[in-house]
């Protein structure tokens, strides 16, 4: 239990956009932590609308700074564009914790709560791809979120490295990378466009929870599930039917609920001053146990707390997970 428990701290949880299910799950986790820590101040769950994504996040961070909140937890929906606002908040004494997606330059950020090790994500994606395509291998394409999302780009990069570095992946051939901007309609259309453009396509890897079900739906609607598969990151409740009918035999994710929980625990500890944002400091994170702040290996600067682990979902366990 955090030593500062019971102290009132105003806190803001800022998702990439409103309207994406995993962020709601994160909110649930954060609320759970808030109750555990007996913070009487209500947690604000504020997000931008998608058309206003970058400017909206900046606006919310700036307003929160003006209000003088104790901590902001950001899932950054762009690159470094949020950095100036984060730095301004930081300079005013607001604790800035990023989660899910960090600020690439780490500017203005106290610590990043990482869901999983980004290099591990690349390996997990590559492993799933190989498992689905088997030794024969074949062509695959990546359907990502927005073109400059820090987390997805890091995952794609690490996946590419894994593919190159390990000979067992030699049969996998990446033919295209497209960006559906985390919009269901765009992702759906792009999935079909990929199919048309690459007649020998065997697999679509979608490292985004919006992209994966959209791609699966598109393939299902076109009756292509026999020929082309989907994998990537997905929410069990959204992927359930596609896993059961074989469109998406396997996908991975971590618990967004736990991620929200850990982000809150970390931010609260920083805001109450029980923990300092420095290498080696330990956050007592309730039911997730103690977590240590380390250097972030995937970024030049910046600190991170690692949550982990990955859960892999397939026909055997997806139904149970979807019920959660």
């Amino acid at each position: 239990q955090d030593a500062g428990a019971g102290k009132p701290v105003d806190m803001v949880l800022l998702p990439k956009y409103l309207g994406i299910i995993v962020f709601d799950q994160a909110n649930t986790g954060a609320q759970e932590a808030a109750t555990e820590l007996k913070n009487e101040r209500p947690l604000q769950f504020l997000g931008p609308t998608p058309e206003n994504s970058v400017a909206g996040q900046i606006e919310i961070v700036t307003n929160a700074t003006t209000q003088g909140v104790g901590a902001i937890m950001i899932s950054n929906n762009s690159g470094d564009q949020i950095a100036p606002a984060a730095r301004a908040a930081h300079d005013k004494g607001v604790k800035v914790v990023t989660w899910d997606s960090p600020i690439p330059s780490a500017e203005g950020e106290d610590v990043f709560v990482a869901q999983v090790d980004f290099d591990e994500t690349g390996r997990v994606l590559a492993d799933m791809a190989l498992k689905i395509l088997s030794e024969a291998g074949g062509e695959f394409a990546i359907l990502s979120g927005s073109a400059d999302a820090a987390n997805q780009n890091a995952w794609i990069k690490s996946m590419n490295q894994v593919l190159k570095s390990d000979a067992k992946f030699a049969s996998l051939k990446l033919v295209d990378t497209v960006y559906g901007n985390d919009q269901a309609e765009t992702s759906y259309n792009l999935a079909l466009a990929l199919v048309d453009k690459h007649p020998n396509l065997k697999l679509i890897v979608a490292p985004t929870t919006v992209g994966a079900p959209s791609a699966a739906k598109a393939l299902q609607d076109e009756g292509l599930c026999e020929k082309i598969k989907v994998t990537g990151l997905g929410v069990p409740s959204e992927m359930l039917s596609y896993t059961q009918n074989g469109c998406a035999p396997e996908f991975a994710l971590w618990s967004f609920k736990d991620l929200g929980y850990l982000a809150y625990q970390t931010a609260y500890a920083l805001a109450t001053g029980t923990v300092k944002a420095e290498e080696g400091a330990v956050v007592k994170a309730g039911r997730l146990g103690d977590r240590t702040i380390t250097k972030d290996p995937t970024r030049e600067k910046g600190l991170r707390i690692l949550m982990g682990p990955f859960s892999l979902y397939n026909a055997e366990n997806v139904e149970a997970a979807a019920k959660e």
């Binding site: 309207g19 269901a184 309609e185 048309d196 919006v210 039917s241």
Partner: protein, 345 residues
Amino acid sequence: MNGLRLRPERVRELSLLAIIAIAVLVFATIIDGYLSPRTFNRIASSVIIIAVVAAGQTLVVLTRNIDLSVGAMVGCVAYFTGALLAANHGLPPVLAIALAVAIGTLMGAVNGALVVFARIPSIIVTLGTMAVFRGLLVEFSGAKSITTANLPSWLVNLPQMTVLSIGSFDVRAMVALALVTIILFQIGMSVLRVGRHFYAVGSNPDAAHFTGLPVRRVIFSAFLLSGAMSGLAGFMTLARFGTITVEAAMGLELESIAAVVVGGVNIFGGAGSIIGATLGAILIGTLEQSLFRLQINQFWLDALLGLLILVAVASDSVLITRLRKFWNEARAKRRRLPAATDTPS
């Protein structure tokens, strides 16, 4: 007198058809396996939603108005219908469609009432309701999304459903639904008396008033029908994409206007047809779907689309003016014959 039956407006539609045909031929020669049922399906399925919305938009534009709220209406309908279906899996399909159309119609009625009874310019009304509808969607949804897992299976499988197979060409149920609706509307516009009232009101509002046409009712119906079409499109969006978030159908307003404009509907009212707007949507859809396959960078599409609109409208304005001049001169020549024999008595 029969030699010149082809009006300039029809020429516009035929030339669009020709351009689409040429485009398809060109793509067929440079893309392997282009001329396939799959291409047909892909273009058809991707075009129908925008075509349905564009049909409603056409009615509004014909009356010298504009509806910028269609995207928000489609999003709202998709979400609310999805929520209803998620709660009542037993809802029969026909009722579900009717519900979607009804929700859309209701929103269209709000637009229409504000334009007709409060006399606010439609661009302002729909700019406002666009924000309000989208905002309400976010409010009511609590920012949660609809997912296929919550939806009844008939709906999830609807996009695959085929109603008619001609050889290897499948006509999907949704494509058929959209086509039938659009064709019914087009027929209605030319067969029903009220159909022509939309043209009259947009062509000359003063004359419409003097002639005793129910101007307000016509404009109101245009918005109502645009809402209804958005409702249908909302249902189709729900069925097709399955996952409905608060941003569903965002930007559709501009796409629908683009289709209408490329389809030769006069943005100042009075001229154009639903078929034209549909052809506009098809042309845009064909280019979008095909250019991607041409190894052309995803990012070039918008730039080309902008160019297409500009070229379409500019050529339209030049071409139609020329044709009309030619047409009038041809008629004047014929007219002069009897007049020439006329000497003052």
